[in-house]
């Protein structure tokens, strides 16, 4: 057993942390949050240059990492700084799916992603699918040597910035069967593709996507017809490691801000942290933090396992982090008092990031159910 990071990962963590502490200040982030695009292209390319995107891909894919612990290191730091840039969507999900399934031609896009010049979005969830990965009503049918896509996709994060959407659609099977789902690359601006964009509560943007007889060539399909589900599950597993790590990093910031505040804010002539009612709750937060860190390690360390073991570990981790994250966010706000309720104050943003991870790829209860099912299997 060894719980130390490798030298490479340690260096990545250090340089990323330093960069974000310097450049991703509260003021800089507030400006990004108020902007129209939902993220900062300058920060994006600077972080690409730093190797943050490359760290999410294996050497064979053109990167220099790609394992669970690489993902955890990167996303912990992104979470710590409350970063809203779409690393999960463009890199981990979008780039990851192309790397996993794409033809040689398609793989070229991964290079653009790593270089920071291409954005992607994973258009999978639908208005009625909630957290059910296999539920796909969007259809794909062959017509005159082309593929025709029809359907609606919900809360597609980063859709407006994406040069290509990765759209899931059903070629066969019933609406919630894993078999029969394919992925297609749909370039932005394709006829019949309509986006209704909006900001997200915790930063970034998403869109409701309508596909109305969208035509793409057969070569736009990623991988074999109807066989994409395994790759989707594997990428979503990686996304779940990232979300867990992001929430954990953000929780550390929430705890740090709270600790600082407890010892600087004075009421009744003394620092409020000297009131035992708060001191004990702060201690509980730190205890939960350690548990959250271990949960992330468990999930990251099993990402390359066979699906059942992988998903069981990940479900456990996300269930724990969902609980610890909610506690951390709510307690940090409460112990700050009114100041934490203001949009400008860093904790407000951090708390939103934490709680909103609970709405991507399954909430606390969803992961509990998955954990129960996978443990029984």
């Amino acid at each position: 057993m060894n719980f130390d990071l490798t030298d490479e990962r340690q260096m990545l963590q250090d340089s990323l942390r330093r960069f974000l502490a310097d450049r991703y200040t509260t003021a800089a982030r507030n400006a990004i949050l108020e902007g129209e695009t939902g993220f900062s292209p300058e920060i994006w390319s600077a972080l690409a240059d730093l190797g943050v995107i490359g760290a999410l891909f294996t050497e064979a894919q053109g990167g220099f990492g790609g394992a669970g612990f690489d993902i955890a290191v990167v996303f912990e730091e992104l979470g710590r700084a409350g970063v809203v840039e779409p690393f999960l969507d463009t890199a981990l999900l979008g780039g990851g799916l192309i790397a996993a399934l794409g033809s040689e031609d398609q793989q070229a896009l991964v290079g653009d992603v790593i270089a920071g010049t291409l954005h992607l979005a994973f258009a999978h969830g639908e208005p009625a699918s909630r957290y059910d990965l296999a539920r796909v009503e969007t259809t794909a049918r062959g017509e005159a040597g082309e593929i025709v896509l029809d359907g609606r996709k919900a809360v597609v994060v980063n859709a407006e910035a994406a040069g290509q959407l990765i759209v899931s659609a059903r070629e066969s099977g019933g609406v919630d069967e894993p078999d029969g789902i394919s992925l297609f690359l749909v370039p932005a601006g394709t006829r019949g593709l309509a986006l209704r964009g909006y900001p997200l509560l915790a930063g970034g943007r998403a869109a409701e996507v309508t596909l109305d007889a969208v035509r793409v060539p057969v070569s736009a399909r990623l991988g074999a017809a109807g066989q994409a589900f395994g790759a989707i599950e594997a990428r979503v597993a990686a996304a779940n490691v990232a979300l867990a790590a992001e929430a954990m990093g953000a929780m550390e910031t929430a705890a740090r801000l709270t600790g600082d505040y407890l010892m600087t804010r004075k009421q009744f002539g003394r620092p409020i942290g000297t009131f035992q009612a708060l001191a004990h709750r702060f201690a509980d937060l730190l205890i939960e933090m350690e548990q959250a860190r271990s949960a992330v390690i468990n999930a990251a360390g099993h990402l390359e396992d066979a699906p059942q073991s992988r998903d069981r570990q990940i479900a456990a981790a996300r269930n724990l982090i969902g609980r610890a994250g909610r506690l951390g966010a709510e307690e940090a706000i409460q112990m700050h008092g009114g100041i934490a309720m203001t949009q400008e104050y860093e904790l407000a943003h951090i708390a939103k990031r934490i709680v909103m991870t609970d709405h991507r790829f399954g909430d606390t209860d969803h992961h509990l159910e998955r954990f129960i099912a996978l443990s029984a299997a």
Binding site: R130, A154, V155, R196, Y198, L201, T342, H359
Partner: protein, 398 residues
Amino acid sequence: MDLSYSPDEIAFRDEVRAFLAEKLPRETAELIRRGGHPGKAEMEAWHAILNEKGWLAPNWPKAFGGAEWNAVQRHIFEEECAAANAPRIVPFGLSMLAPVLMKFGSKAQQDHYLPRILDGTDWWCQGYSEPGAGSDLASLKTRAVRQGDHYIVNGQKTWTTLGQYANWIFCLVRTDPDAKQQEGISFLLIDMDTPGIEVRPIILLDGTPEVNEVWFTDVKVPVENLVGEENKGWTYAKYLLTHERTNIAGVGFSRAGLETVKRMARAEISGGRPLIENPHFAARMATVEADLMAMSTTNLRIISKAAVGQAPGVEASMLKVKGTIIRQEINDLARRAAGPYAMPFASETALGDNDPIGPDYIGPVAAEYFNNRKLSIFGGSNEIQRGIIAKVKLGGGK
């Protein structure tokens, strides 16, 4: 013991329902049902409608133009209003300042200000908290110095809810800096149009401009705007705080909120079945509902013990703590029920139109979840309330 409403009470409830069905503006109710925030005009219109009926001031004695309802009537009214998605009654003038004026104000102040609260001439806000004086309110620093027939006020208030709409503010100010903290505070009524007052908005974490900073620079306030005696303001403030807490359990809001959650959970499909049938979600809902059923009775038990117009004692702190925990838990359920559609920041300004982003049964539930974290912070934080309960019950006296 009799848990059922008497025939009179049922008749009253029916009367309230009929009134709401007839008089509550449809668009306002619809806005609130979707989780929107009524603006100044909607709130004032609703006040006027209630005032016309004589129902705007349920807790005021009839002599002052109130309805003088008993606890059960108030409970019924609050519950029916919440269920019908009526705007909440802005409490600052009606249920905070008014009781203080009735008890400690001069006849001239009562005659002047109380009718203006009822007819909507004045919109009051509450100027208690300061950046350095939150839970420790008695440490407040805003200074009022007597000069002839005026006070000169300098300092800053903060967290002033809806101060942007207000034309008057009631303030706690320090008039004797040398006395013991609680003994140098006075209760002043200040016209917001007086030169030297500046109101700056504070945007809350859900994007709403709900609170403000209010700055005072050499603001001249006539001495007749002092309530009661100079340096006795703390006594009046404490009296006011007990009133601030009377409807703090928010049972009506919780009921309405739980109904909304149920509506969402019936419509939302999870794993091929309505979410309401999901055992984990159903268990969360049932647990809150069990809490709420007991809370409703706790609330009635406690408030019916207190005479009309009077506030309960330490039990009010209990209502506040438990009532806010339940409301916040319901907000948490609502955001869970929304699934991925909790993520959009669904403000009208962000969208440029009113079309909901996801299914129309999902409102801005996550924004509401974050906004209502305030419930356990303001009006005396839950930690402060627990401190009061423990101090009283462990023998610190009443």
